[in-house]
Every structure is written in structure tokens, then in C-alpha cells.
């Protein structure tokens, strides 16, 4: 072996690596996430991958929507003929923060084993994702429609409405292409050039630029082993800070809005309209999800950490009017749970709270199956 040989090996290796890198960037295999060990080697996950403590939760957050769906049980097989498919989209209260998969809304509805009017088994899929943004929900719904739902249930809350936070969810900002398509297709009141929408450069698309995403994709597959082995997809701490119930008397603002009324232009009702349009023939049931109604200090000013009373009351009024105007199916369950049935946030429910919520919804869903 000569020095010349060694030099040539190094040179050829570098050129080959560079070529692969550039080819990868030019090709940019966006569908790579669709290749998944879930639903093949391991059972699909019952909710989307999400987690900030991967080594204990056997779960991690990633921005590849294809990979998220490919790891989900909804992608396991074509829809069976005897299944009435319900998909749940929404935020962390749907995903089930601090709840085991079987304690989530979807888990409880499935456990109730309800059947549709035509005799089909109602099967509910948890497509919630723990960030609060209607646009994020809309983006997920776009993908979810490929799985032929018979009913879309969309629990939401006012915190998901402010237009200035629609694009800041990391999942939204890292899927700028999809979001721009939605903005254009449904004429949403957002700027397609909003700096919050991250546009990858050519170098970001190379293997080196994508190393984090590729590693996440690989780790997601590996964690499939532990998901299958343990059924754990979240850390369940024995103790955690409880949701805030005491507030300052002068804390009356909601984002940049002040009493006495909300500015409708600053709320993303257009995204809900887009969702209903996107669903087309598939009915959409919009649910104003339960939230903590505090009885603590200055609870006459605020309902909870998120909402001053004036803002939330006005929002409920607007939602009711908008629904009537637009013909949306709307269910307002904002106060069905007592203060004690919330955990670490004003919208995160205890298993018992989730069961009450599920019981309320189960009847409505079953009713919907008869009204077609």
C-alpha cells in the first residue's frame, strides 16, 4: 500500500460522499418517512410520536408528518368494511398528556365499544398532537383524510385561535410547504412568506443538513421495540405541578387583546371553515373542549391560566354564532368537568375527567352515525 494509494482512497471517498450528499439534496426524498417498521415489525402507535424525554418515554418529537402517520395504527391496514372510522384531531388534551393510551379520549371511546346505526363498529383514532394551533390541526386533517374517516371530531379551545400563533407551532413551521399549500388553497389569512415558516436552503437538504431529522427517524423506529415491549409512550411522573387556580386581579389580557371584546379578525375562524371544506362529505363535529373553571383567588377575573372571563365568554358567543351561520356541527362542553379533574394544565384532564368527557361524546357520536 503506497502513500499515493492512501491519498486516492481519501480523495475518492470524499468525492463519493460529496456526490451522495448533493444527490440526496437534489432528490430530497420527502417520502422517506413513509418507510416505517411500525405496523410491520411493531404494532402501530395509538397516538402520534411526541416526547421530550425519549429515553424514558420511548417516544420523541419529530417534524416528519409522513413518519408520524406511518408509525400510527391508522396506517396499519386499509379501512375494514365493518368499521365506522372516527378521527380525533386537536391538541394535548386529545393526545392525552399524563394519560396512558387507554385513558385518552380515543382509548375510552374504543373501550366503550359503541356501534354505528348501520351496525358498523365505531373505531376512534387519536390524531391529536400536543401543540395548540388550529393550522396544525388542519395540516394533520389534510393527511388524515387519506384514511377515509366517516366522522371527524375536532375538540378545540380558544388558545388555538389567535392568528399570530398559528404558524409558530414547530410542527407547522417545519412543514412550510404543506402549510403554504393550505394557505393558498383555502385563502387563509396568513402570509406565505411569514418568517415563522422555515424554508430549508439547499444545504439544509443535504445529508449533513438533514442529519438530525434522519437520526430522529431512525430513533423513532428503534423506539418501536420498546413501545411494543412495554406499551409505554409517555413519562408518568408520580407528582407534578398542578394547574394554576389563583390569579392576579389585574391580569385581564388575552394575548394582545384587552377587554371588553375580542377582535374577530385576530382569531382564525377561517381555519375551521377550511377544515370543514377540506373534509367535504365527511361530517365534522367541532367540540369546545372542557377546561378548568377555577374557584381560586380572583377567579371572578380569570377562568384559568389561559383565559380571562371576558375573552372566553365572548369566544363562546362567537363560536356559537359562527357555527349557526356556517352550519357547523358544534358541541360546547366547556364546563362539564369540576376543577378537580384537571392535572397540570387547564385543558389536561384526569382519567376520570376524560371518562366524563368521553361519555358525553359517545352518545353524540353514535347519534351522528344515524343522521346521515
Amino acid at each position: 500500500m503506497t502513500w499515493r494509494f492512501l491519498r486516492n482512497v481519501l480523495l475518492k471517498g470524499s468525492v463519493l460522499f460529496l456526490a451522495c450528499d448533493l444527490l440526496f439534496a437534489a432528490w430530497h426524498p420527502a417520502g422517506l418517512g413513509k418507510v416505517s417498521a411500525y405496523n410491520h415489525l411493531f404494532p402501530g402507535r395509538l397516538r402520534f410520536p411526541f416526547g421530550e424525554n425519549p429515553t424514558q418515554a420511548y417516544n420523541l418529537s419529530l417534524f416528519d408528518l409522513d413518519a408520524m402517520f406511518a408509525s400510527h395504527v391508522i396506517a396499519a391496514a386499509p379501512k375494514p368494511a365493518d368499521e365506522y372510522r372516527v378521527i380525533l384531531i386537536g391538541d394535548s388534551s386529545v393526545w392525552g398528556t399524563l394519560l396512558k393510551p387507554e385513558e385518552t379520549l380515543a382509548g375510552l371511546l374504543n373501550a366503550a365499544s359503541i356501534t354505528a346505526c348501520d351496525g358498523r363498529q365505531i373505531r376512534v383514532y387519536n390524531l391529536g398532537y400536543p401543540t395548540i394551533s388550529l393550522t396544525k390541526d388542519l395540516m394533520i386533517l389534510t393527511e388524515a383524510m387519506r384514511y377515509q374517516p366517516d366522522l371527524v371530531v375536532w375538540p378545540l379551545t380558544l388558545e388555538a385561535f389567535p392568528t399570530d400563533k398559528q404558524l409558530s407551532s414547530p410542527l407547522v413551521s417545519h412543514n412550510s410547504g404543506r402549510v403554504r399549500d393550505l394557505i393558498r388553497a383555502y385563502n387563509l389569512p396568513f402570509d406565505v412568506n411569514d418568517p415563522a415558516l422555515w424554508t430549508p436552503s439547499f444545504w439544509d437538504k443535504t445529508i449533513i443538513g438533514q442529519r438530525r431529522d434522519l437520526a430522529d427517524l431512525a430513533r423513532l423506529q428503534l423506539y418501536g421495540v420498546l413501545w411494543a415491549a412495554t406499551g409505554v409512550d409517555q413519562v408518568y411522573p408520580a407528582d407534578y405541578p398542578r394547574a394554576q387556580i389563583d390569579f392576579a386581579a389585574d391580569d385581564v389580557s388575552f394575548h394582545d387583546q384587552q377587554p371588553p371584546s375580542l377582535d374577530e379578525a385576530k382569531l382564525a375562524f377561517a381555519v375551521i371553515a377550511a377544515g370543514v371544506r377540506l373534509a367535504g362529505e365527511t361530517p365534522v363535529l367541532i367540540v369546545n373542549e372542557p377546561m378548568l373553571v377555577s374557584t381560586g383567588k380572583n377567579s371572578d377575573v380569570r377562568y384559568n391560566f389561559f383565559y380571562p372571563r371576558w375573552a372566553y365568554d365572548h369566544y363562546r358567543q362567537m363560536m356559537s354564532e359562527q357555527s349557526q351561520r356556517s352550519g357547523w356541527s358544534y358541541l360546547d362542553l366547556w364546563d362539564v368537568l369540576p376543577e378537580s379533574e384537571f392535572t397540570n394544565s387547564a385543558i389536561h384532564m384526569t382519567p376520570a375527567g376524560e371518562a366524563i368527557f368521553a361519555a358525553q361524546l359517545a352518545g353524540v357520536i353514535q347519534e351522528r352515525t344515524c343522521s346521515k
Binding site: M1, L6, P54, A229
Partner: protein, 476 residues
């Protein structure tokens, strides 16, 4: 060692291997290794303890040399220069405290300079005393050196002693002793350093140790490629490499580079990926079925191999850039037909160390004494003893003891079984398929036994290990 440090040390090794070929080479190697000790020592909850442990590593090494070298050698110019370099490095590492937290060589802020100077005065007195008393009673001092190292080893490895020591250090540092934990005393590479020192002291006792200079000795003990995960070289072999004129050929570089790349792949791709799903104290209690438990156990079985052998490959690769041929530590251990062969190919340098300093001497003693022990009893005592000591080397806990017992008993049973079955299987072994079947069966059984042994090794307590055994065999 992180990937960044490995790349930095690779660059340094390449520079030293290709450029630094003169008589100063040994000083460079010693200096870089000394700096590596400060750089790689992880941060500890007790302020400045990382700096003190690094300094103590150097002190113990110098003491080791002083004990094992002939009298009067310290006054030789080369050794004084080495001592001055080491003192300079400690002082420089300390002075980085005045550059601000981001620029300290050690992980946390080093102590004040006046504290270090006072310590160095004490060190000078200790070294002087050792040099003086060595003339009077070398035997006593060598034994004291061995006991000191074993004592420190026990302080670090026995959880209750480690907690007590940490508590005392915390109190001395003006902090609350109740927060003490065994992990407070994570001393970088001490297990390896101590065994190299013990090897030189024992060889000095038996008169086999070659005469080496201080920089050579220090370089041997703290050689930076092998600092964190071995291998545990023998000093006479290491010195041969050090003395050999360095003339790296393209073939040497290719081989070393290949070894480094293989090591990086094993450690950072295979081992780190398997680590995500390997058996541990959390998933051991969460796993629902026997099948998945086996998978987690196999993941651990290969993770520990790739992790450890990957680091060895990295060490051998970086050593190769410097013109060293560090000894092998692994030779396809999971493809061996019996436990004896497994232990001849797993962490080989550690096994050889125990064979040289425990197994062989004890076997000789038991077989050559006035009352000769029966052969089976000798094998039982020596193999069980050796494996228990290897267990202790990893940590003095019930699980490591049980892991040692598992292998000790396994080795004994395998030895007796082989004696019994060999003549009876002679006919089968002569047939091609018979031999192949036997080999495959033996390999599988050995692998399975080793893999099950990792249940003790991977988990922190006996109850959890028993739970995993029950789950593996479908008993819960």
C-alpha cells in the same frame, strides 16, 4: 469520550506520529496524556473535585514510578524535566481558573492557586519521604503501594464506602454531607490506571520489571488513547513500542485509520443505537412478555460488546497513528464454543492481568504446597476466585458478585463437563457433520449462558434481576 474529543485526539496523534519523531516524543506523549486527564475527567457535584482527582492520578503515577524505579533515578535530568513538565501542566490547568469558567481545562473551576501550591509542597514532601524510605524498606513500601491502590479502589467501588467518602469530602468542602452519592466519585479511568500501577509494583516485587524513565512510565500508565477504556497493556511491551524508531508507512496509517473507523461505527452507530432498546433498570420492570424481554437482553448483549470493543478499536487506531500496537481486547467472543474460550477473547487484557496476578500464582500455590489439593478443587477455587475478582473490578455490589459467581461456576462446570464428555464424543467429532453440529450447539449454548449472565451485570439489584429471569422463562 465524545466524538469531538476522539477527533481532537486523532488529529493530535496524527501530528505526533508524523512529525514528532525525535527524542522529545515521549515528553509530548506524556504531556498530551496528562492534559487529557484534566480534559476528559467529567464534572462532579463537589466543586473542584474533578481537578483534584486528575491531579491525584498524576501523583499516584509519579509515586508508582518512584516505588518501582531504582534509587537515585529521580535526580536524572530526563526525569526531573518530566517532573517539571507534569508540575507545569497541573499549574497551568489550575491557572485556567483565572480565564473564566468557559476556558478552564478541567470541567469545573479549579481550586485557588494558593491551595494548590500548599498541596504541591505536601506532595514534594511525600515524594521526598518515599524516596528516602525506599532505601530503608522497599518491600514495605511496595506492599503499602499495593494496599493504597486497593484501598482507593474499594473506596470508589463499594457503594457504602463511596457515599461515606463523598460525605467526608463534602463536609471538608463546607457542603452538606447528606447529599453524598456514590456517583460523586467518578474518577476517570481509575480502574485501568490502578491495574497498570499494580502490575508494575507486582513486577517490581518479583524482579521482572524493566527499568524505565519517569516520562516512559507516566506515558505507559496514562497513555491517552487507552485512558478511558483500556486495553491494559504490559509495560515491557509498551516500552518496546515507545523505543522503536517511529516510521509510519501508508500501510500503518491505513490499518490504524480502518481500525478507528470500525471503532467509531461500533461505538457511535451500533452500540449507541442498541443502547436505546437495551435492557435497563427501567424497561426491565415495564416489559410485558418473555419474547420482548429476550430481545431487550440480546440488545444489551450486543450493545456492551460493540460499546466496549468499539472503544478498544478507537484506542488501537489512535495508538496506531502514534506508532503503537496496543494489545487486542476482543476476538469475536460471542462465537466461542465454551466459556473458557469466551474469557480468552472477552476483555482479554483484563483476563490476562488476573491470570498473571491471581489465577496462576494461586493455582501454583495450591498444587505445589505440602497438602496438594485435588485438581477439581483447585479449578473450582481459582476460577471462582478469578471471576469474583473480575466482578469486584466492575463494582462491589451483589449483582457484580453474582455475575462473577455465574461465570465462575459456569467455567468450573464447563471444565468438568468437557473432561467427562470429550472421550465419549470422540466418534461424533470425527464425522464432519457431527463436529459442525457440536460446534454450532456449543456456540449457541455458550452465547446463551453469557447473555443470561448479563442480566446480573446490567441491572442494579438482585430482585430486579430475578424478576427478569422469571419473565424470560415465562414464570410471571
Amino acid at each position: 469520550m465524545t466524538l469531538t474529543y476522539i477527533l481532537i485526539f486523532t488529529a493530535i496523534a496524527l501530528f505526533l506520529g508524523l512529525v514528532m519523531r525525535n527524542r522529545w516524543r515521549v515528553y509530548w506523549l506524556m504531556g498530551v496524556s496528562a492534559l487529557a486527564i484534566f480534559l476528559l475527567q467529567p464534572a462532579l457535584p463537589i466543586r473542584s473535585l474533578d481537578f483534584w482527582l486528575s491531579t491525584l492520578t498524576l501523583l499516584l503515577t509519579v509515586l508508582g514510578w518512584l516505588l518501582t524505579t531504582s534509587s537515585g533515578k529521580l535526580r536524572e535530568r530526563g526525569n526531573l524535566v518530566a517532573l517539571a513538565i507534569l508540575t507545569g501542566i497541573v499549574l497551568c490547568a489550575n491557572l485556567t481558573r483565572y480565564l473564566g469558567l468557559e476556558w478552564t481545562l478541567s470541567a469545573t473551576l479549579p481550586p485557588k492557586i494558593e491551595t494548590l501550591l500548599a498541596f504541591l509542597v505536601v506532595v514534594a514532601l511525600v515524594l521526598g519521604a518515599v524516596a528516602y524510605f525506599k532505601r530503608l524498606s522497599l518491600k514495605f513500601l511496595l506492599t503499602a503501594g499495593i494496599l493504597l491502590l486497593i484501598g482507593i479502589f474499594l473506596l470508589l467501588k463499594v457503594p457504602s464506602l463511596a457515599i461515606a467518602t463523598s460525605g467526608l469530602i463534602r463536609l471538608a468542602a463546607g457542603r452538606l454531607g447528606v447529599n453524598a452519592a456514590a456517583t460523586d466519585l467518578r474518577w476517570l479511568g481509575f480502574s485501568y490506571i490502578a491495574f497498570r500501577l499494580l502490575h508494575t509494583i507486582r513486577d517490581r516485587q518479583s524482579g521482572r520489571l524493566p527499568e524505565v524513565t519517569l516520562p516512559e512510565y507516566v506515558t505507559y500508565v496514562i497513555f491517552f488513547p487507552a485512558l478511558t477504556a483500556g486495553p491494559i497493556d504490559r509495560i515491557e511491551r509498551f516500552i518496546q513500542d515507545l523505543h522503536r524508531p517511529i516510521a509510519l508507512s501508508s500501510e500503518d496509517l491505513t490499518l490504524a485509520g480502518k481500525r478507528l473507523v470500525v471503532g467509531l461505527f461500533k461505538k457511535f452507530v451500533l452500540a449507541d443505537s442498541l443502547a436505546l432498546i437495551a435492557l435497563n433498570s427501567v424497561n426491565a420492570l415495564q416489559t410485558r412478555t418473555a419474547g420482548w424481554m429476550w430481545l431487550l437482553l440480546y440488545a444489551y448483549t450486543f450493545q456492551i460488546l460493540f460499546d466496549f470493543s468499539g472503544y478498544t478499536d478507537i484506542a488501537i487506531g489512535i495508538g496506531g497513528f502514534l506508532g503503537f500496537r496496543l494489545p487486542e481486547n476482543f476476538a469475536a467472543p460471542y462465537l466461542k464454543p465454551n466459556l473458557t474460550q469466551f474469557w480468552n477473547s472477552w476483555h482479554m487484557t483484563l483476563t490476562q492481568w488476573f491470570r498473571a496476578y491471581f489465577f496462576n500464582p494461586v493455582t501454583r500455590a495450591l498444587r505445589s504446597g505440602k497438602r496438594r489439593w485435588p485438581i477439581a478443587a483447585v479449578i473450582f477455587v481459582t476460577q471462582l476466585g478469578t471471576m469474583l475478582l473480575i466482578g469486584f473490578w466492575h463494582g462491589v455490589t451483589w449483582n457484580f458478585i453474582l455475575w462473577g459467581l455465574w461465570h465462575g461456576i459456569g467455567l468450573f462446570l464447563q471444565n468438568r463437563w468437557s473432561e467427562f464428555i470429550r472421550p465419549r464424543l470422540a466418534g461424533v467429532e470425527n464425522r464432519k457433520w457431527g463436529k459442525l453440529s457440536l460446534t454450532v450447539l456449543s456456540n449457541m449454548l455458550t452465547f446463551q449462558y453469557v447473555a443470561l449472565g448479563w442480566v446480573w451485570f446490567a441491572l442494579p439489584d438482585v430482585a430486579m434481576s430475578v424478576h427478569v429471569f422469571f419473565k424470560l422463562f415465562g414464570l410471571t
